[in-house]
Amino acid sequence: MATVAEFDSVGLRYGTGAEVLRDLDFRLRTGSFYFLTGPSGAGKTSLLKLLYLAQRPTRGRIKLFGEELSEAERESLPPFRRRIGVVFQDFRLIRHLSAFDNVALPLRIGGSSDDEVEGSVREMLAWVGLADRASARPPTLSGGEQQRVAIARAVINRPELLVADEPTGNVDADMANRLMGLFTAMNRLGTTVVVATHDVGLIGATPGAQLIRLENGTLVDPTGTLRNPPGPPRGDS
């Protein structure tokens, strides 16, 4: 069974504080859709940081895309990061760049030509409903528009793993459905999706998705979904 991520006895602490994540053991199957839930302060964002290589675990072992990366040289990480799309809770858009340039950033870092960038970014902005806001800078966009730009940036280069932290927190129900539709479509194309959310409705509206629940930095899995082999990826049945 191919996995995108493998966590073995992973723990994380910041500085000399207490562990914010403890004894995490799970695997994310390639092409699956996961929701990460839990109360505020449970460690969801920290877990996502480990997934998108913004943090190293203080103990345990993490394999991403089949490679042990817990103690990998930092110079070896950029190629793995390019295979991951991230939607940050605070969007993390570069304020002095236009929406177009923010969305184009992953493609440019990946070495795409100007023509490729132009076509892909226009298409993506149109999909998230911001075709006419391409030249607008983030401070002039609403919260929902900024979130859509952030999502467009995360998915523009068709990542193998898409990690989203509360991606629908600032958009209306209609846009939330459209964005989840985009995530689902990407998942159907083979992208493994991990969405951290409090939105129970969102989880219920995504059949076949699996649940990772965190409480106090540990994995709570009353259903056993993650410990048992997960069901087939969406679209396989």
Binding site: Q55, E75, R82, L97, D101
Partner: protein
């Protein structure tokens, strides 16, 4: 050629702000200005030392205590010595005239013993010991004095000053490098968020550094050239009228090689600043994950 020097408009937009500006070009301009003046002084001193050293290297004087009574046979003895290329007797009247500058009318007093002098040039290998023996046979007490021995301390001072100038150029370059490091760190702090986002998306350190090194290269190049231009104007003004002009353009000119060295200095400073900035940025980036 130099692909690292050129970035696309999109890459330029990543750092935002004007293409050129801030305190860095001014700091580098001031450093470049002082480096150019110090280097020009050092090169002029080196040129002076070479000129003086070259002119006296083969120059000797035969001092004859007791006046000019034996001058004619001594001149003949010097002239007939193998390796001697030119001989000139200095008349006693010339000697007294020279002494008059320091002694006043007393220099003309018959009570003041003035030695006779014979200036001559000798090729290396000339048998000066034999010449001295022959001279002493004619005029006991005659002795050969090498000009380089009497001018030696002055030459030593000139060479010392030349090394002091070189040291100052090195110190100024180090100071300019330190300023560039501070500027690079400041730029990193200013753009920390952008860098974090780029790293998160998969940018390498080299890709990030590329953006900064180009900006610092432009700042350094503009600052260096501006400072060098100002220094050139000052040097031209000095050369056209001030006392230093004599040293710079008269006795000891700045030769073509010196001018090439001076012309290359701003570019060397630019290369140094860019390399220092690149190294500083790369080191700082390595502290992040």
């Amino acid at each position: 050629m130099f692909p690292w020097l050129f970035v696309s408009p999109a890459e330029r937009r990543l750092l935002g702000g004007p293409r050129f500006g801030g305190p860095t070009p001014w700091v580098i301009a001031i450093m470049s200005f002082s480096i150019m003046l110090i280097a020009a002084s050092g090169l002029a001193l080196a040129s002076t030392a070479a000129l003086v050293g070259g002119s006296i290297e083969s120059r000797y004087a035969l001092e004859v205590p007791g006046g000019a009574a034996t001058l004619a046979p001594l001149v003949e003895a010097v002239r007939s010595t193998s390796g001697v290329t030119s001989v000139e007797a200095v008349p006693e009247s010339d000697m007294r005239q020279t002494l008059e500058r320091w002694l006043g009318p007393a220099a003309q007093s018959a009570e003041l013993p003035v030695p006779a002098l014979i200036d001559f040039n000798a090729e290396p290998g000339a048998n000066l010991a034999a010449l001295q023996q022959r001279a002493r046979a004619i005029a006991p007490g005659a002795r050969i004095v090498a000009h380089r021995d009497s001018v030696g301390p002055l030459l030593h001072s000139l060479r010392l000053l030349q090394w002091v100038a070189f040291g100052l150029v090195v110190l100024q370059s180090i100071a300019a490098s330190a300023a560039v490091v501070l500027a690079a760190r400041g730029a990193l702090d200013t753009h920390r968020f952008t860098i974090e986002v780029m790293h998160g998306i998969g940018a390498t350190d080299l890709q990030v550094t590329h953006l900064f090194q180009r900006k610092i290269l432009i700042d350094a190049l503009v600052g260096s050239l501006a400072g060098a231009l100002a220094a050139a104007i000052v040097l031209l003004l000095l050369a056209s009228g001030a006392a230093l002009a004599g040293e710079l353009t008269g006795g000891a000119t700045l030769g073509p090689v010196d001018l090439v060295v001076l012309a290359l200095l701003p570019f060397a400073l630019t290369v140094l600043a860019t390399w220092v900035a690149r190294t500083a940025v790369l080191r700082a980036l390595r502290k992040a994950l």
